[in-house]
């Protein structure tokens, strides 16, 4: 029948059209010129890496390679990078890239977005065409078209990367030493100078961790006897003429993490060792465990049957899987197992809801206090108690302004506060209807807050002071290295609809201190800014709050996509009031709890 024929043809056409748009690699354009890339685009941690030749061949940059040092010279900017490092120098000033430049099959791959930021260029992606475009400014287009090509012609003998040239001039990485740092997780620093690839595996019989370092040709290092709870000894041998093998003889196979340090070293960190887990009810129900230190854990609630699940991160269960019955009105059974190589899972089978509230170290063991109810019920209870008891001291008292300043200085003197203005650099955060960037207003508030704290004698650790991109994982790390006592992240909220408005503070409900800090901040912000009170928001999945190793809270000052609140967020007066409110919240928290 002709109708069937027509349907068939339509289907065929649709099929052809759809398969064409979905299949096929991304085309990369500089301006409107389609680029024939020397290596395919790759994505690392959400950042697109492009071959560095994009900048030498199409944007007229001059390239110098000296060992692991890679320098790109643009007419007005010189960017120098080290392979494997996110810290770079732009015209001699330190800056940070999204991800580190890396060496891959003879090409240096660099993060596109970081470069675009530095050069003031925009990146556009057209999903239909699968076209990724580095949008050129007019001046650059002209320059790239005419002057630059002549101005920056390759000098003969210079180390610009040609088609058949790899970075053969990379110096040999050197293994200086293997240093046992110790600690609960038996940290070991493999001090490598230069960039080395590595592969790691756990082997059995006997239990050992093996790390193969490529490109290290020197002699083996002497064997070190450690004999602690995790490691027996560390030795090395030659795997082949390009590869050095480092062997950790272990008491028992255990999970590990390897972190690469900026200057090339590798840090090995083993799991926490959990030896015993039990349940007890004296005044309150408690889950206790013994371990060489306290691992972080995540909490989830399951229903049907009701269960409370605690996953201890980076931990090894020495005793092996076990389960035991409990005679308790709420808890029926406790099951313990090595759920994944680095996660110890504890499951409590319940009659009714239970929520972990806090962890304390008591008599060589850790006790997790359990609340018989949900987190929300616990928070409500706490809020009621605290308002009734008026535990928070009145921040605005009758003393003169001068006396108050003196009092604040006493409270804050010597304190260390981490301020984390959200987003930055290539990540603008949310964007208001008038084009206001979240990254700009939160930085302004953060700097004003820092000034107030510093004037009162506190030491301030900023995760960023300028418009730079810092990853969400590095932010709490910066606070930790600075030995901050509390971590305050400053953000502006946004939603797909323009109606929601107001202030909220988010915190990780796992630890009581987070709640206290969040509450101190929220109450000051609400009374100072007089915006809608969206309340305290317990949240477990936020990266900066989860990874902060000190009391932490994330302030959402106002909604940047709300027409009126966007205007407020832009105004220096409002920014000042917001920073003063956060400042008072911090003073209140220290005065009350620390």
């Amino acid at each position: 029948m002709p109708r069937t024929g027509i349907i068939l043809i339509v289907f065929l056409m649709l099929f052809i059209i759809f398969t064409q748009s979905a299949v096929g690699a991304i085309n990369f354009y500089v301006g409107n010129q389609l680029i024939d890339l020397s290596s395919p685009l790759t994505v690392v941690n959400g950042s697109i890496l492009v071959p560095i030749t994009v900048f030498t061949q199409y944007l007229g940059a001059r390239l110098k390679v000296d060992g692991t040092l890679v320098v790109l010279e643009f007419p007005a900017k010189t960017i120098s990078m080290q392979l494997g490092q996110i810290n770079v120098h732009v015209n001699g000033v330190e800056s940070v890239f999204d991800v580190a430049p890396e060496w891959s099959n003879g090409d240096v791959m660099v993060p596109l977005r970081s470069f675009a930021d530095q050069l003031g260029l925009r990146i556009a992606f057209d999903a239909d065409q699968m076209a990724l475009t580095l949008v050129m400014s007019e001046e650059l287009e002209q320059l790239a078209g005419s002057q630059l090509t002549t101005q920056y012609q390759k000098e003969p003998g210079s180390s610009s990367l040609g088609p058949n040239m790899s970075i053969g001039t990379l110096p040999e990485p050197r293994l200086n030493d293997i240093v046992f740092l110790g600690g609960a997780r038996s940290r070991v620093f493999i001090d490598v100078h230069g960039y080395t690839g590595y592969q790691s595996t756990l082997l059995t019989n006997p239990d050992r961790l093996v790390i193969d370092l490529t490109g290290i040709t020197q002699d083996v290092t002497p064997t070190q006897d450690i004999n602690n709870t995790i490691i027996q000894r560390i030795r090395s041998n030659r795997f082949n003429d390009r590869t050095m093998r480092i062997v950790f003889d272990l008491n028992k196979s255990t999970g590990y993490e390897i972190h690469r340090w900026p200057d090339g070293g590798l840090e090995v960190e083993f799991n926490y060792q959990i030896s015993e887990i039990g349940y007890v009810r004296d005044e309150d129900p408690k889950l206790w465990f013994t371990a060489n230190d306290q691992p972080l854990f995540s909490v989830s609630h399951l229903v049907d049957p009701a269960r409370l699940v605690l996953d201890f991160q980076n931990s090894t269960l020495l005793s092996g899987a076990q389960e035991f019955r409990v005679s308790d009105p709420r808890v029926r059974l406790v099951r313990v197992s090595q759920f994944m190589p680095s996660i110890t899972r504890v499951v409590l089978e319940l009659d009714g809801v239970m929520t972990p509230i806090s962890v304390d170290e008591v008599n060589d063991r850790f006790e997790i206090l359990l609340f018989e109810g949900t987190m929300e019920e616990y928070n409500d209870l706490l809020t009621i108690n605290e308002t009734v008891d008026t535990l928070l001291p009145p921040i605005v008292d009758e003393s003169t302004e001068e006396q108050q300043i003196i009092r604040y200085n006493q409270i804050l003197s010597g304190r260390v506060v981490a301020i984390d203005p959200g987003h930055g650099g290539s990540d603008p955060g949310a964007i208001g209807p008038r084009g206001t960037f979240e990254k700009d207003v939160v930085l302004a508030i953060g700097l004003k807050l820092g000034k107030l704290l510093e004037e009162a004698g506190a030491r301030v650790i900023y995760t960023r002071r300028t418009d730079t991109y810092i990853s969400i994982y590095d932010r709490p790390r910066i606070a930790e290295y600075g030995q901050a006592e509390i971590f305050v992240s400053i953000h502006a909220n946004s939603f797909s609809h323009q109606l929601p408005n107001g202030t909220e503070v988010l915190y990780n409900p796992l630890f009581l201190e987070n709640f206290r800090l969040a509450q101190a901040l929220q109450s000051e912000l609400v009374s100072a800014l007089q915006l809608a009170d969206r309340g305290l928001r317990p949240r477990e999945g936020l990266a900066v709050l989860n990874r902060a190793k000190m009391p932490a809270a994330l302030v959402e000052v106002a909604f940047i996509n709300h027409l009126e609140e966007e205007l407020l967020l832009r105004s220096p007066d409002f920014q000042q009031r917001a920073s003063e409110a956060i400042y008072k919240g911090i003073v209140g928290y220290f005065a009350q709890y620390r």
Binding site: V44, N45, G429, I431, I472, Y473, S496, R539, A543
Partner: protein, 173 residues
């Protein structure tokens, strides 16, 4: 009327009856057989002007691909709003035991309007919709085939996520 005409008319009547029967079946008989065993599945969307998730119920088996299609094409109810940034597509998905990997196009990251609440709604709208499926307990969101730390700078999505009831509006009532 000749015999030939009579036979022709009879044939016409027979054909018309047959066609009528087919049409009747198509219009009235087949549909109730589908409707007698209605299957509903739930997809979560942004509640529009409130900052939480609302369920929308759809007819169908509720396969993974149906649910993903629903997330991509957006809500049918006028008061609800889409979760995903405009242009976001699902490139692929894969089940591995109780873990479902869903690979979105880069629009999820490039065109997200930001804000911690906006990001939470997007992420947990996806996770809650997919964990409605009995066999799916955890969801790993990938962007352009890679694990990413976050799509808008707040929620850590480098690990699989489990269901979050706290963002669902009707749960609060």
């Amino acid at each position: 009327m000749s015999d030939r005409q009579r036979i022709g008319a009879l044939l016409l009547v027979v054909i018309l009856l047959f066609a009528g029967r087919l049409l009747w079946n198509r219009l009235f008989v087949e549909e109730p057989t589908i409707a007698t065993a209605p299957q509903l599945y739930t997809v979560y969307f942004s509640s529009g002007n409130k900052t939480y998730l609302m369920p929308e119920y759809r007819f169908g088996e509720g396969t993974i691909s149906q649910r993903l299609d629903a997330l991509v094409s957006g809500p049918q109810h006028p008061n609800l709003a889409p979760l995903l940034p405009q242009g976001t597509r699902v490139i692929s998905y894969e089940e591995s035991a109780d873990l479902l990997y869903v690979n979105f196009s880069e629009d999820l990251l490039l065109h997200h309007s930001g804000g911690s609440i906006g990001e939470l709604i997007t992420i947990y709208g996806i996770v809650n919709t997919l964990t409605e499926i009995e066999s799916v307990k955890r969801v790993q969101i990938l962007v352009a085939g890679k694990m990413v730390s976050t799509i808008a700078g707040h929620v850590d999505i480098s690990n699989p996520l489990v269901r979050d009831w706290s963002l669902i509006g009707s749960q609060k009532l």
